[in-house]
């Protein structure tokens, strides 16, 4: 519902970032070839893993976790959110007060709930059921809700990506494990109990994945657009530009129009800006904007006979209505994903379970839901690895020992021993995952179509490589 509340202005910018961030992944972590799903003591998880502590725990990150039962029940006292029957997890995000109307709270809740339902049906974890409490921060009250969570002591962990996560730092300070998204990367940098789906992201860093769609479409002159009012949007533009500055030359690609100063809401339209791009001969556009603004730009492009110019869309993956309603405008546009697309071969990954669970619940399978599922999975693996006498610190330590977790084949391998810190523009290697991976789909006839190999849908690059090369198609599914 349209809120009259405060700075949509600045907040929206953040939202723009939200979507753009969803695409931004520089983190990806794993060893060499990325196919690391060597099942250790996978199928039957029992107390042995827990007893081994961190060493055994590290394996759980990458293990294929089977049907269960998972873990072992032992009575625990004094751990927030944990009773003999249940483990309570809070989703702290923004609901209807989000004036753009983007689905944040509901979609994130759907993803987590689907995962919990799945695991609960398998017997839960350590003899307990996972319970999700949905908390709406109503946009302005995030810090307050966080304070209530800390005071209440009724939640073990917090998952969620709200518009303004002002309380997340308080939560992590209080020892509560927090699972957010790339939007909260700045906050998560260096914080060892705050997790994001694919490791902490560096927004301003050049990223090899940005070159790929331009090459794929045969374009050579790139325009980059962002909002002036949001630092996040400007950072996004800077990162994009850096990518083309660093690697574009040898590929014959150049950023010819860079505008990180668009006014939020585009009140004056984008006529002059699109005209300028036309004059510069732009044939591909990268955006650090929100979904609705992109629509405005697409309309203006079509108005000025540039309708064929492809864009990289802020993530509307899974938003069927958006894609079908605007099919003409979005034809040929790319969407980048940090996880394995649904259009790829799902066998050997948890994608099958994800689709099954979400379809059964009637939930829309979109970007936020999938990300939230991944977050839930990371938490689950941490619980499993921590053993029956778990607490918040033990879970955090366990996850931090994972060197190659893929959340059941959904993502490339993340190394939490290194990736709480983001890479920096000067050092793209030390905190990078072993392989920096990304997937692309393209909008065709209002539907997402997979780019690349259905069996090896991830495009992976070696962070240590100075130059840009064609990516290696990779799969992180279990063999």
């Amino acid at each position: 519902m349209p809120a009259i509340r405060s700075g949509r202005s600045t907040v929206f910018r953040l939202l723009a970032l939200l979507a753009a961030m969803a695409m931004l992944f520089s983190a990806c972590g794993n060893s060499d070839d990325g196919d690391d799903a060597s099942p250790t003591t996978a199928a039957t998880d029992n107390g042995d893993e827990g007893d081994e502590g961190a060493a055994g725990g590290a394996e759980i990150g990458s293990a294929v976790i089977g049907e269960g039962p998972h873990g072992e029940f032992e009575s625990i006292e004094g751990v927030p959110g944990v009773t003999d029957e249940e483990i309570h997890v809070a989703l702290l995000s923004t609901g209807d007060a989000n004036p753009i109307g983007y689905c944040l709270l509901q979609c994130q809740a759907d993803g987590i709930q689907a995962y919990f339902d799945w695991r609960n049906a398998q017997g839960g974890i350590h003899g307990r059921q996972l319970v999700l409490d949905v908390i709406d921060d109503e946009f302005a009250n995030n810090q307050l809700r966080a304070a209530e969570i800390i005071d209440g002591g009724e939640h073990f962990a917090v998952i969620g990506s709200p518009i303004m996560g002002t309380g997340f730092i308080d939560l992590t300070d209080a020892g509560v494990p927090v699972f957010a998204s790339a939007v909260q990367s700045d906050m998560a940098n260096g914080v060892n109990n705050m997790y994001t789906p694919v490791g902490t992201v560096c927004i301003t860093c050049p990223a090899k994945r940005n070159i790929w769609p331009v090459k794929d479409s045969g374009a050579s002159k790139v325009g980059i657009l962002g909002f002036g009012i949001a630092q996040a949007s400007k950072d996004c533009v800077a990162g994009q530009k850096a990518s083309f500055d660093k690697w574009g030359g040898p590929q014959g690609i150049e950023a010819v129009y860079v505008n990180d100063d668009l006014p939020y809401g585009l009140p004056n339209g984008v006529g002059p800006e699109v005209s300028a791009m036309k004059r510069a001969g732009v044939d591909f556009i990268m955006t650090c904007l929100d979904q609705n603004s992109v629509k405005t730009i697409e309309e203006e492009l079509s108005r000025q006979d540039m309708g064929d110019v492809p864009l990289v869309l802020p993530n509307a993956y899974g938003d069927e209505e958006y894609l079908t309603q605007n099919a003409e405008l979005l034809e040929g546009d790319y969407i980048g994903l940090m996880y394995r697309p649904l259009e790829a071969n799902q066998a050997g990954t948890d994608l099958e379970a994800l689709v099954e669970q979400m379809s059964a619940a009637g939930s829309a399978i979109n970007d936020w839901a999938i990300i939230s599922w991944i977050n839930a999975d990371q938490l689950f693996r941490g619980l499993l690895a921590a053993g029956p006498q778990f607490d918040q610190q033990k879970v955090v330590d366990s996850i931090n020992s994972f060197t190659a977790t893929t959340s059941g084949g959904l993502t490339h391998a993340i190394d939490w021993t290194r990736q709480h810190n983001a890479i920096t523009p000067d050092d793209l290697v030390t905190n990078a995952p072993a392989q920096e991976c990304f997937a692309y789909v393209q909008v065709q006839d209002g539907k997402a179509v997979l780019m690349g190999d259905a069996d090896k849908p991830h495009f992976c690059w070696d962070p240590a490589d100075e130059d840009w090369k064609e990516p290696v198609p990779t799969s992180f599914a279990a063999e």
Partner: protein, 687 residues
């Protein structure tokens, strides 16, 4: 040769590109001028009325499955004028003799309340990713290119045509029919109009219906230009429209139209050519980054300050104003608070603080600390509006200056945060003083508008500068101060510190209002002419008041962000919120410090205590006993306070003092009645 031709084509193209957004500004500007001409009210809520019609249109067209045309008829031809009638009958009819500042506050209240009310009543929650559409079928996709240079969509063409027809039609209405004449007469003096046998109420109702109809029309026509269904967009547009309307001195429809179109075209031209010049002259880059977003506000500011005839445009006085009972003598209410009363309030406050300090958990401590910081900010409103009688709509910017100063100096540069707070206060005081000096020739409403322009300028241009707001949004982690051995990392300790700061500030306000400047300001408030005649310089007194008000707001803003640990401009200091602050403070009493403190408490705690129904939990002993219609939507906060401004207009002393005033009035009436009896007895029966 080719170059020259291409520049000309580009120029023409840019002009055409400026027409669609310019039409939007023109439509709203026309509507605004129309309201002002026909009702004498400076109606900020015009945008909110437009929003209301837009919401109803989309609800009917998208959700109830009505066709576009029936939905348009409902929302524009039926609902919009009805809303106008309602506003006139319930609100503005009773404010005809209220001072213009009161009416302004009421229109601000409506700006806040109407969108919330409409949203709740219509249960409006737009689907994710859907965006507003226009009234004509295929409005976005079908295009026309009359000049072969730049195509216009159907929506845009319709909007432009309607704007042109409206200007011509309204101009004709005013020139050739008695309607315009009657409306102008009512605006000047409703009673004198009545003496001519014309029902002022009927004319006034008709005027509101006409301008509200136009609001509905504008609302529906401009919707497609926005990407979201946001009431905030409609408010932001208002500010730009006022700039356009100001070009016509607020009373000329053609100039408002031209001003709106002109703004759109100028912005498009600048967007087209400035980047090219920047390519050649790199030093223009900061200009480019900052000029564009600031154009409307700079125009507005410039028009207000430099166009000489503008200030007189706000109405001639009504010779029959004396017919209404004189307003309560408010000045006396301030001094009535004796020492004992003050001491009692102080004791209560300390008691409350003690309870919170010892008993409260983190959540409540956080809340109360926020309330205390807001109290300091609200004290700034007490000074500038309560004491100096000016409406300042940029208190949010001043508070933000304090907040950013703490961030830049305290976090980024590692200075002691308390020192940073003081420095922030000084900076804000300087800015406020400079602003006040620029505005010293202006009367009340124009000061309000100019401060609003400044607030938006700050929001659009200054916040994003790296040396002001910069990175603060994502990364800030503001440290708590340490004094000697006391570490204020502990939330309860910091709360105490905040209370001490609040007390010092409240004492300062009290002393200031009793001091020379305070008394000068009160004299000015009573009669400016009389005050001048005894040598009181209004600008000096007002500059002092502005500076103090800026200082207080910044201190409050600084304390707020230290308490929260990070700067959240978007949820704490944006222009719209600052509007709402004013409304809350005037509801509780803008003339005494206690009003500000109570207002802050309500502002922060309202949601937790009332909207969530917790107070019922306390009363009924148990969370489970809270009635099921709680928690109420946060929108209710806006509705209640927004509508509360109507009460303010009738009782500018505010809720707190109102009861005292009522008691006084009652006793005076009793005394007057006694006189009646006595004098009748004296004179014997009248001849």
């Amino acid at each position: 040769m080719i170059l020259a031709v291409s520049v000309v084509t580009d120029f023409f193209q840019a002009v055409l590109q400026g027409v669609p957004p310019g039409t939007v500004y023109a439509l709203v500007a026309i509507g605004f001028v129309l309201t002002y001409k026909t009702s004498g009210v400076f109606n900020f809520a015009f945008g909110a009325q437009a929003f209301a019609s837009m919401v109803l249109f989309h609800k009917a067209a998208d959700e109830w499955g009505w066709g576009t045309v029936p939905a348009a008829i409902l929302s524009v031809l039926i609902f919009a004028p009805l809303l106008g009638f309602l506003l006139e009958w319930a609100v503005f009819r009773h404010l005809r003799t209220a001072p213009p500042l009161s009416t302004l506050v009421v229109s601000l209240g409506l700006t806040v309340a109407i969108p919330s009310l409409v949203t709740i009543l219509l249960d409006f929650s737009p689907k994710s990713g859907s965006s507003p559409h226009g009234v004509v079928p295929d409005g976005r996709t079908v295009r026309y290119d009359p000049f072969g240079v730049y195509p216009f969509s159907r929506d845009e063409l319709v909007a432009t045509i309607v704007a042109i027809v409206a200007v011509l039609g309204l101009a004709a209405l005013f020139r050739f029919t008695p309607v315009g004449l009657m409306m102008k007469a009512v605006v000047e003096s409703p009673r004198m109009t009545e003496l001519n046998g014309i029902s002022a109420d009927r004319v006034s109702a008709g005027a509101w219906a006409l301008s509200s109809f136009f609001a509905g029309l504008a609302g529906v026509l401009i919707a497609p230009r926005f990407t979201t269904f946001s009431a905030n967009e409609y408010f932001n547009i208002m500010v730009i429209a006022i700039a356009a309307a100001a070009v016509g001195k607020l009373v000329s429809l053609p100039w408002a139209f031209g001003g709106g179109l002109g703004l759109g075209v100028v912005i498009a031209l600048v967007s087209t050519f400035l980047p090219r010049w920047t390519d050649e002259f790199a030093w223009l880059k900061p200009v480019q980054e900052n000029v564009l977003p600031s154009i409307p506000f700079v125009v507005l500011f410039g028009v207000i300050v430099f166009v000489p005839g503008l200030r007189k445009a706000i109405g001639s006085s009504d010779p029959l104003a004396g017919v209404d009972p004189p307003r309560q003598n408010v000045a006396s209410v301030i001094t009535s608070a004796g020492w004992m009363f003050l001491a009692l309030k102080a004791v209560l406050l300390l008691g409350a603080v003690a309870v919170v300090y010892t008993q409260a958990d983190r959540t409540w401590t956080l809340l109360v600390t926020q309330a205390v910081a807001m109290g300091i900010i609200f004290l700034s409103i007490t000074i500038i509006t309560g004491l100096a009688g000016q409406i300042s709509l940029c208190q949010g910017a001043f508070a933000a200056i304090g907040a950013f100063a703490v961030y830049q100096l305290g976090e980024v540069r590692g200075m002691s945060v308390l020192v940073a707070v003081v420095i922030g206060g000084a900076i804000a005081a300087a800015v406020a003083a400079a602003l006040s000096l620029t505005l010293r020739q202006l009367t009340g409403i124009w000061v309000a508008i100019a401060t609003l322009a400044f607030a938006f300028f700050f929001d659009a241009v200054l916040v994003k500068q790296s040396w002001i707001g910069g990175d603060s949004l994502a990364r800030s982690r503001i440290p708590r101060p340490v004094i000697g051995t006391i570490d204020f990392q502990d939330d309860s300790n910091f709360l105490l510190l905040a209370v001490i700061v609040l007390a010092v500030c409240a004492l300062g306000v009290y002393l200031f209002s009793r001091g020379t400047t305070g008394r000068k300001l009160r004299a000015l408030g009573g009669s400016e002419i009389a005050a001048r005649s005894v040598g009181i310089s209004p600008s000096r007194a007002r500059v002092a008041a502005f500076a103090l008000s800026g200082f207080l707001a910044a201190v409050g803003g600084g304390m707020l962000v230290i308490g929260q640990g990070s700067v959240n401009y978007g949820t704490s200091f944006v222009p719209f919120l600052a509007l709402f602050w004013l409304i809350v403070v005037v509801t509780f009493g803008v003339r005494q410090p206690s009003g500000a403190i109570v207002a802050a408490a309500f502002f922060i705690l309202f949601e937790s205590v009332f909207l969530k129904g917790e107070i019922f939990g306390w009363i009924l002993r148990g969370e489970d006993n809270i009635p099921s219609f709680f928690p109420l939507a946060p929108d209710w906060r806006y509705i209640l306070f927004g509508l509360g401004t109507i009460q303010y207009a009738r009782h500018p002393e505010g809720v707190l003092a109102m009861s005292a005033a009522k008691r006084r009035a009652r006793s005076e009436r009793r005394a007057a009645d006694k006189v009646v009896v006595d004098s009748a007895a004296e004179l014997g029966t009248p001849a």
